[in-house]
């Protein structure tokens, strides 16, 4: 069923059967402290693991002496790379076809790299034992700056890889048309360029990463408890690594204390826990501490970018981008195979460009591996930051208003579906309309007047705009896979004889409210109360195959699967209802929860009655088996393209250079909103993270590769005092190909907010201080330096 204006749901209802502001089902356990996070699970006989990590960023390992640690009472085993080699587990595949050392044997390649794994009776003893392991290192020159990694004299980091002669992690990747772009620039009236860095930051979910592995030597069964965002993919990876059949491995995720992309990869600690359980023959629990989380697990961004943008006749016409991507010591970024730079080439933005060309070169450095999302769909965050900073740079150069230039350059509503210059097919949009709603909420003209008044008084106030388009919901199997696994999701729906239902999904919530939202989809499609629908997820033995939750793909892919499987059940119910009502299926019409006879609406059958009938001894339609259930694997025909208009208002203290986000207006168009309360909650959360990234959060290193932000004392996360009361708005442009008309939304606020804030900071300082660029995070020190005419890039 195509979504049209007539059948748009009514999302403002309080207790809906279907879409609307339904309070969350999962809250009941969380508000009582009854969630089951990883550390809450205790298995009989369980031992505890701890990892010894490298103090050096780059060093040869001369020797490892574990004898003293082994002698400590309560220590069961100390595992090193040598032991793992005998199990064939010393190296593991990353999700980007690279390899990563599980425990370092030859040398360490980043500070915090895993060197030895202790298994002991308690976590306290395990950590005591770490101090008793004697490792002799021979320090080597460390490569911290990705630009230096490309120098001829830079030390070779990945000498473990055959044929690797430099620090280039993957061939230069290009998108767009270089010649056409050159032409656009040659014909342009105005050209601007900017060098900018999207610095390394970290998702830092409040619950760190960890695992309990429970290998049963009698049966060969491996039970895993591990909060991760893609349990089915992880199971396939472990099956390959351990040489076990998938059905001999069961992963249970239970409750996850936030993910934001940090819980996508497979980490060395996981393999250690599994190896530890195989060696010790008992369950082994390993949970990292906060420092381990920050220094070793999947960081985000770290893109060094040069952008050039041009305009002709007052409109944006061309974009040229050159990127050095810092992947750290191992390429463990998570991207679909054919997209080594992810979806970065969506940096053509929301504009009707004549041409664009993008080049990305990835390098190894002596820093933690990653490049995985931080609430970012495959590098779209970096792309949107680049293009939205460039638009403002261009507006400055042209003396144009930042909104006017965007309005003049937007893709027009009648141009959709729109083929971008870098190969995307945007599905639907009305950008100017959304921008106008944001201007209205902001009171844009009043803001400009207020700013002018304040300037006269020497006060620094900035207004920053960004307009983003994301491509989320990876993805069509003909284009997108991870490790050869198509990016599809399954759904399995069973309506029981009682009329209650259970839907099993392959998406994995880390707080997004799937137990509520997915029940609402079934409720909307079948007319059952959402409280009668159980959503099952997070257990590979009891859910269908699918690629999990990241890149805002839950609703676009898994949500579509649930919509389609519900319709399959509804179609089956129609056939059964026809038999029940002694009529033909084509004579029946559907209203929410009921098939009835066209022209005789009194004659009908509720879905609950049909379910009871389907399991009863009554005759089924010819050729049909009993029961009322269905399953699907959904292959999305395209990504969905949510978009939004964001306006940030900042004040800068002229004496301290402290930036305060006073107002933040976010108008998102993510198509149909299944549960607007949850959508708004997602936007709030992502905006807070965006403020953190723009103003506070950064992972930096000194020249020797020591991580300088290894705890929450110096990796600063916004508290309630740094974020304002957000002002949200919405427009609804349904996705034409999604069965529910929905688009993804989770990452939009994190994608769209940093450029709005940085644009606001520059807007505040340009006229008075001549500032044309400040790199993130806009800390007082960095903003102050920019105000003094000496802008500093992050390390």
């Amino acid at each position: 069923m195509a979504v049209t204006e007539e059948n748009l749901p009514s999302p403002r209802q309080e207790r809906p059967i279907g879409f609307g502001r339904l309070k969350r089902k999962e809250d009941a356990r969380f508000i009582r402290g009854q969630g089951t996070y990883l550390d809450d699970i205790r298995l009989p006989g369980m031992l505890h693991g701890a990892l010894l990590r490298s103090p050096y960023a780059h060093a040869r390992i001369v020797s490892i002496d574990t004898s003293e640690a082994l002698a400590l009472p309560g220590v069961a085993a100390v595992v090193t790379a040598k032991d793992l080699e005998t199990l064939g587990l010393a190296w593991m595949p990353t999700i980007s076809y690279d390899t990563q050392a599980v425990l370092a044997g030859d040398k360490v390649r980043f500070q915090g790299q895993e060197v030895a794994f202790v298994i002991a009776e308690t976590e306290y003893i395990a950590r005591d034992a770490l101090g008793l392991i004697d490792v002799e290192y021979e320090p080597l020159d460390a490569v911290v700056d990705a630009r230096r990694a490309l120098h001829e004299d830079a030390p070779l980091i990945r000498d473990d890889k055959e044929g690797q002669v430099d620090n280039v992690a993957s061939p230069t990747w290009e998108a767009g048309d270089q010649e056409a772009t050159d032409r656009a620039f040659a014909e342009a009236d105005v050209v601007v360029s900017r060098d900018m860095i999207y610095p390394r930051c970290h998702p830092a979910p409040l619950e760190t990463c960890g695992m309990i592995a429970d290998f049963n030597p009698e049966t060969g069964q491996l039970d895993i408890y591990n909060g991760n965002q893609a349990p089915n993919v992880h199971r396939t990876v472990y099956a390959h690594v351990a040489g076990l059949a998938e059905h001999m491995i069961r992963i249970r995720c239970n409750d996850i204390g936030g993910g934001f992309g940090n819980k996508v990869p497979v980490y060395p600690g996981y393999v250690c826990a599994i190896a530890g359980s195989i060696v010790a023959g008992v369950p082994v629990k390993w949970i990292e501490d906060r420092t381990e989380n920050l220094v070793s697990t999947g960081f985000a961004r770290d893109y060094i970018m040069r952008g050039e943008m041009c305009a002709k006749d007052g409109r944006i016409t061309g974009l040229r981008v050159d990127v050095i991507a810092d992947h750290g010591a191992f390429d463990s970024t998570a991207q679909p195979t054919k997209f080594p730079a992810g979806f970065f080439h969506i940096c053509c933005g929301s504009y009707d460009l004549q041409a664009a060309h993008v080049k990305v070169k990835a390098v190894y450095t002596n820093k933690a591996p990653g490049g995985v999302a931080y609430r970012c769909s495959f590098r779209i965050t970096e792309a949107v930051y680049l293009v939205e900073r460039m638009v403002n740079a261009l507006a400055l150069e042209m003396g144009a208003d930042q909104i006017d230039l965007r309005m003049r350059s937007f893709i027009a509503p009648e141009q959709f579906p729109y083929e971008t210059t870098t190969g995307w097919t945007f599905d639907s949009g009305n950008y100017a309309e959304t921008m106008k709603v944001a201007m209205e909420i902001a009171g844009y003209d009043d803001l400009l007047r207020e700013q002018a008044d304040k300037r006269e008084r020497g006060e620094l106030m900035g207004i920053g705009v960004s307009f983003f388009t994301e491509g989320v919901g990876a993805g069509p199997r003909k284009h997108m896979d991870i490790l050869g696994l198509s990016m599809n999701d399954g759904a399995d729906l069973r309506v029981h004889p009682s009329g209650k239902a259970m839907v099993s999904i392959s998406a994995q919530t880390q707080g997004q409210g799937h137990e509520t939202t997915f029940a609402q989809i079934v409720a909307e499609e079948l007319g059952l109360p959402p409280e009668d629908i159980e959503v099952r997820h997070g257990d590979t033995d009891r859910t269908p195959y699918g690629l999990g939750t990241y890149g805002s793909r839950s609703t676009p892919v898994s949500g579509a699967a649930v919509g389609v499987v519900s319709r399959k059940v509804r179609d089956r119910a129609r056939l059964i209802a026809a038999t029940m009502l002694e009529t033909r299926p084509e004579d029946l019409a559907w209203e929410k929860g009921r098939w009835y006879v066209r022209g005789d609406p009194e004659q009908g059958a509720m879905i609950e009655e049909i379910a009871r009938y389907a399991y009863s001894g009554e005759p089924m339609p010819e050729g049909m088996e009993g029961g009322l259930d269905a399953q699907v694997i959904y292959d999305p025909p395209n990504l969905t393209y949510p978009y939004g208009a964001y306006i940030a208002v900042v004040d800068i203290d002229p004496d301290t250079a402290q930036v305060t986000v006073r107002r933040f207006i976010a108008v998102d168009d993510c198509g149909v909103r299944i549960n607007p309360m949850i959508v708004e909650g997602q936007i709030h959360g992502g905006l807070a993270e965006g403020i953190g990234i723009a103003l506070m959060e950064v992972i930096t290193f000194d020249a020797e590769g020591n991580c300088l932000n290894s705890s929450f004392m110096d990796y600063l996360i916004p508290t309630a005092l740094e974020v304002p009361e957000f002002e949200l708005g919405e427009t609804v442009t349904p996705c034409p190909h999604h069965p529910l008309g929905a688009k993804g939304v989770g990452e939009s606020p994190n994608v769209g907010s940093p450029p709005a804030i940085v644009n606001a900071v520059i807007d505040a300082l340009h006229q008075t201080h001549g500032v044309t660029h400040v790199d993130m995070p806009c800390t007082p020190a960095r903003v102050w330096a920019a105000m003094q005419g000496r802008p500093e890039p992050p390390q």
């Binding site: 356990r29 809450d40 306290y124 204390g257 936030g258 807070a688 974020v723 009361e725």
Partner: protein, 159 residues
Amino acid sequence: MQVTLTINGREVSRDVEPRQLLVHFIRDTPGLTGTHWGCDTSNCGACVVLMDGTPIKSCTTLAAMCVGHEIATVESLEVDGELDPIQQGFHEMHALHCGFCTPGMLMTTRALLNENPRPTDQEIRTAISGAICRCTGYQNIVAAVRWAAEHEAAFQQEI
């Protein structure tokens, strides 16, 4: 050393190492896993419990320091199947996503309302500024505390 604490009105006694952290004592001995651990450095607030009614961070408090004190955890909020208004408020206003910070936030804001039954938004934000929520952006947490304050007042008027 033998440590005896009162947790949620119940006396708990155990032989522990002097270095045992309160958060581990609470989670291990009575098995009250609602109190979480998140950062080691007193920054995140996932481990907040009340000691004699005052919020403290149990990840940087030794169990031995709490001898003779009354500890209250998130599990104490619901009484005889009745949710505390602050728990209800978090549910009503969608003030939690992943739920990991929630117990600490609940205890922190319970203590706030005990001290200050009608806090302003700024007072609420200041009270929770020692706790990190990575999911909600705090807006709905502030609204939840407001909800609880309003409903608590109404509830007390009825009595």
